[in-house]
Amino acid sequence: MIDFFEVIKRALTGPYYSEQDFTLKVLVPKLRAIIKKYGIIYDSATPVPSNDQLADDVFRAGVELCAEVGCYCKDTSRVIRFTTDEILEALRDAPSQPFFGEGSDRKAMFARKPESSDPPYCYVGAGGSVVTSEDVFVRLVEGYGRNPLSDSITCPTLTKINGMEIVASSPLELLACIRAVELGRAALRRAQRPGLPIMNSIATGVTATGKIGGSAFGLRNSDCWVVGFTSPLKVQFGRMNEVAYIIARGAQLVGEAGEPMGGFAGGPEGIAVISIVYHILSILVLRSSVHLTFPMDIRYGCNTSWEIMWPISVAAQAMSRNSHHPILNLAYTAAGPMTEMCLYEIAVAMINFVASGGNIEFGGVAKGTSPDRMSPLEPRFATEVAHAAAGLSRAQANEIITTLIPKYKDRLASPPKGATFQECFDWVSIQPCQEYIELYGQIKDELVGYGLKFK
């Protein structure tokens, strides 16, 4: 695979385009033409298709689009281009089973296949959602660590440090990044899981300075950093600086992309194809060990709608059938904790991810934007469903999903906010309240009725 210096060189010397021309005159027409060329058509009746030919066509379309379009560097207005041979070489040389964590919590993440009975790698926690205080941060992370099915942790985002509101790019951001690492490590020690990897590096950080500076205060090479693209198919030097730092310290990173459905990539077909391009660019540009994907439904700010299932499933099938580079699928629910809708949304997302060949990240509750509106029970439920879904056929997954989504689809535009962590959990014992335990049990029983076998 071409090295990172070559990627930097291309970011500095590749063909020049204005940002608008790259998007509207290169990406959009080429994407639409390739969808047509490969005959990729969204099937609204089958959110989880069992069509290997479709998956492989989407993969080939993604490879072709990647070679034709490349990745736009916002700082230089240059396009980082790769040939088809370089893309295929990168897919061949990409990492296949990176290890994360230490001691008894050291574990490899594998690339699963559609319908595989291998349990998914479970990366769980807050998905970067925001908390109002350092206390909430610590108790949540301890709660995530206590889940025996947690393989790695995604910490929340601090909004205050020492009671002061964090301002991006100010010294408070750097100090908060340092604090977030210290708190995360301490919380996992409290959970008796000191080796559990923190995989989202520092959600509190916006800038490379914050993330790199904060890393020096307790992140390990056995943890993982998350570095993302900007929509559509763009990268910034700030993110590439993080990549340079992570490579130099011998650590690993998750490349991430969350293309909005309805945006420049268009509808379900466009999201499926562009997801493949992001995954390839994640290997080449971000040098990722794992790729994390979370296409979002632009209408609802979540990815549990009927229409978004198809591109998520097809893209996961396409990559997992044609590559050994692991995929993580991340879910954002519309509804908040301790609501029936939230648990249905989680079940739908996990069943889709796992049957389609993905590993799971969970996740963003209540769209991941409402302070403290998350608890350790949603990721716990997610991991249990994800393990129970391993081995389901895509047809079985499709049947369950098409039964569950109608239970909440009319509420996606105005979802119930649910409870905050403080409202649905006992603060001292970090245990869910009785009402939440009963709701959780009731939904699990219902899922057993649909054929899920909880261990």
């Binding site: 985002t157 909004t159 964090i166 991006a168 916006v206 800038t207 945006g263 420049f264 991941g368 934007t369």
Partner: protein, 216 residues
């Protein structure tokens, strides 16, 4: 003779389909057949653009389609504007909006969608892009004599930058010159109230309704 409503319908369709050349031709045909330029703008163009916005909300059209429709509208205006100037009538835009992502924020999709929808509604919009400082918002708002400053934040850590704009306007005694509206995934009405913004909307369509209300 071609029916007036057919001509306006053809103009509208060209806008909806984002075909700039056809939109220009259709606008010219409207004028040639005695349709006033104002009527062409109001019925042919703005209604066409409104339909595009509605279809986007239902995911029947996507962001690039909105951009192409707006560009078709701009091209058609090149034909209609001289005719408007030559007549006694004027097509008054609803207002002028300065929009940008707050200092520290590099996420632009939501802001871009609101920008397009405001343009489709007839607003004059100056998009300052991402990572925009309070002083840049102020300078541009002064320069264009804007009605509204719209600030988006996708990250909680950039929300305080929205407040900085309002604080700056207060500090220099220019708060009453501009309406300030805020949005973005983590932003809420409660936050808007807390920082003294004039409004908040959860969606781009809501942002347009809010902007129209504020300039009414």
């Amino acid at each position: 003779m071609t029916n007036k409503s057919d001509l306006l319908a053809e103009f509208q369709l060209a806008i909806i389909e984002g075909d700039a050349e056809r939109a220009k031709g259709a606008a010219q045909k409207c004028l040639d057949n005695g349709i006033t330029p104002i009527e062409a703008v109001e019925v042919g163009m703005r209604d066409g653009l409104r339909i595009v916005g509605e279809k986007f909300e239902k995911l029947e059209l996507y962001l690039p389609d909105m951009i192409l429709a707006a560009e078709a509208g701009n091209e058609a205006m090149k034909v209609l504007e001289p005719a408007i100037a030559a007549s006694d009538q004027r097509a008054t835009p609803p207002g002028i909006v300065i929009i940008g992502a707050a200092k520290g924020d590099i996420h632009t999709i939501g802001k871009n969608i609101l920008t397009m929808m405001l343009k489709l509604t007839g607003f004059i919009v100056q998009d300052l892009g991402e990572d925009v400082s309070a002083t840049t918002f102020l300078e541009q708002a002064r320069k264009l004599n804007a009605d509204i400053i719209a600030i988006s934040s996708l990250m909680t850590s950039t929300m305080p930058s929205q407040r900085e704009v309002i604080n700056l306007l207060n500090d220099i005694h220019e708060r009453d010159k501009f309406k300030v509206i805020v949005g973005g995934a983590p932003v809420t009405q409660q936050w808007a109230d807390q920082i003294g913004a004039d409004g908040y909307a959860e969606t781009a369509a809501g942002g347009v309704t809010l902007a129209l209300k504020l300039v009414a």
